[in-house]
């Protein structure tokens, strides 16, 4: 039987105290009220501040409930912020892989493209930021589904785009299990004939999956002759996903995704 975690109990107490009180409370007031040592209280408050559950007034230094606490049910990271914070790592992924890069999140059961980097060959391409992709027929979508990013769930009806699209719930469930096992996702001619994609989850603090980053292109470039994603490209994608995740506050145990 795992025991309870004392610091989480204390954090819950801090949140209740702030929710119940009127106005902002100082560190001293909070630690006095909960009969906790000041350094302990301070550590809890700073952690809660980092995840957005608590806000600190810039002038007085007093604490109140954070906006994120009131919006717990909605997406935690603004999509434009996700783009801003990943742009530095999406570019090297495109340069190293030679393919177009996209970052996606979930919107209405589909993949919303929040960032797009052209394939670096200087051919004419158009930005498709803001467009929607099918969640079960893209590597980005499978990465989001596999980790239930933003509560993503498989659509009831699985549209078939090619003969390779996952056509049954069972097939999809199996594919998602494989994604979780591997830590990355792929899609080979499941959306368009002749095209393939690779993606990996973007994580924030506590491992929370907030999006996915991936590359897509001609199947002969993305895959080897057995239609398997090329390991070097998989490594590029996972490295980029890890770099973005680290910047968002994720920590990794022993190099796991």
């Amino acid at each position: 039987m795992p025991g309870t975690v004392q610091s989480i109990e204390r954090a819950a107490a801090v949140l209740r105290l702030l929710a119940g009180g009127s106005g902002r409370l100082s560190l001293a007031e909070i630690s006095r009220s909960l009969d906790l040592a000041k350094p302990t209280t301070h550590g809890i408050l700073q952690t809660l501040r980092k995840v957005g559950f608590v806000e600190q007034d810039r002038v007085s230094g007093h604490y109140q409930l954070g906006a994120a606490m009131l919006r717990l049910g909605t997406g935690f990271l603004d999509v434009n912020e996700l783009r801003s914070r990943s742009i530095n790592w999406a570019d090297p992924l495109a340069a190293r892989s030679g393919e177009a890069v996209r970052i996606g999140t979930v919107l209405d059961g589909q993949v919303l493209v929040v960032h797009h980097v052209f394939r670096p060959d200087d051919t004419f391409q158009t930005l498709d930021v803001g467009s929607l992709l099918p969640i079960h027929a893209t590597a980005l979508g499978k990465a989001l589904l596999a980790y239930r990013a933003d509560g993503a769930a498989a659509p009831a009806a699985l549209d078939r785009f090619t003969s390779r699209t996952a056509g049954t719930q069972r097939e999809l469930t199996e594919a998602l299990r494989a994604v979780r096992e591997a830590g990355w996702s792929a899609e080979v001619e499941e959306l368009h004939r002749g095209e393939a994609s690779i993606a990996a989850p973007i994580r924030a603090y506590g491992g929370l999956v907030v999006g996915a980053i991936g590359i897509s292109g001609h199947v002969e470039r993305i895959c080897d002759s057995h239609y398997r994603p090329r390991p070097a490209l998989v490594a590029n994608v996972r490295d980029a996903a890890r770099a973005v995740s680290r910047d968002l506050g994720a920590t990794f145990r022993g190099g796991a995704p």
């Binding site: 912020e81 783009r83 742009i87 670096p120 060959d121 200087d122």
Partner: protein
Amino acid sequence: MTERYVVAIDQGTTSTRCIVIDRRGQLVSLAQQEHKQHFPKPGWVEHDAAEIWRNVERLGPEALRRAGATIDQVAAIGIANQRETTILWDKKTGQPIGHAVVWQDTRTDTMVGRLDHLPGAEGVRHRSGLPLATYFSGPRVRWMLDHTPGLLERAERGEVLFGTMETWLIWKLTGGLHVTDVTNASRTLLLDIHTLDWSPASLEFFGIPRAMLPEVRPSIGVFGTATAAFPGVRIGAALGDQQAALFGQTCFAPGEAKCTYGTGSFLLLNTGSELVRSTHGLLSTVAYQIKGEPAAYALEGSIAITGSLVQWFRDQLELIASAPEIETLARTVSDNGGCYIVPAFSGLYAPHWRSEARGVIVGLTSYITKGHLARAVLEASAWQTREVVDAMNADSGLALKTLRVDGGMTADNLLMQYIADVLDVPVVRPLAAETVSLGAAYGAGLAVGYWPDLEGLRQNWHRAAQWMPTMDAERRDSEYANWKRAVSRTFDWIQG
């Protein structure tokens, strides 16, 4: 060869970044730290140079650690820095004398107003390629000498040193080398941009002793070897951040231009070895100089407030929690609702150069929501760009065909689309958002032979995104007319 990387130090207005870059010009790792902004009085902006140096000392090793690199794998260091910010320090102790006075600081406005009318002013303008404005370093040095008892005498005896940020960092990195590069020197009002050395006449005009000035060197060429932060590594380049971005965008040929969107925004056009003088409110400045070669010059349109307007919206109005949320908020409405914001917070820079102007919000009605204000904030960056592009087209006699952009604001798709719309040209972002660092790295790598030549660097440039204009001409023209009327409302606000 074990030298696999070049390290760039990007010492900016709001933060310092250390960046490790590989042979293909791609980011390997990044370590960043903001420093404190001191606002002791309205219009005053200061930094603590000692704090900034401590950040560099810490970020360098941190960036290497994140890259999994060792110091012997670093071929060279390149420095790009916030320009015009002015630091004085004690030669013997290495202690800064007071805070650094930042480029946005307007404390010298009365002095500059007075100096501008003196007979010698025309000569200063001609030699430096700049208008007399609070923006540049020279008047700041004079102000600091005037306001610290005994400082002038010590400066004359060579006990007090002046530097812009790259000078300070090189001095700290090398343990006492007092040098600047031509691009930073060209922002002081003290350099003769033809001879590329300090102008005795301009020094006399401002009353600044030669003994406190650093030696002027080419931007690209080994300055010395670091003994601190990166012991044993050569410093291969130093450039002002905007010139570094021009270099990072590989705008090596005359006619090539870029605009960087950070705290402020700066459009630079390479004019080659020819010094072009603007008749439309742009600056003439040095783009870069490779050791042993003639300098390349640039025309510059400097816009003081763009990204910092977003920061003001976030920190002072508290209408958003992070800068990128401005786009989310702006997308809650479909247009500006008739509202315009002109952020003349420290006067207006190019092409107006009106130091007495102050910001306005016009067109307010009870219809206006925070969404409209967010639109107006973003649109202000676009219209200010339009003004400097118009000036550049008029000066060069050529119409800009595409705009190359970089900097933090290029993550904002709504803004980039709006810039394409108001300029009526495609806007292109290269495959390297940190172009300032890239330019410093390119310079340093060239200096030590890590990269062979400019042509090789051009191969690294790729288009990462492009926004095509979609606005109809009629709407563009009427919005521009509104913007111009809004700008005229900012003039003559400060009276004196």
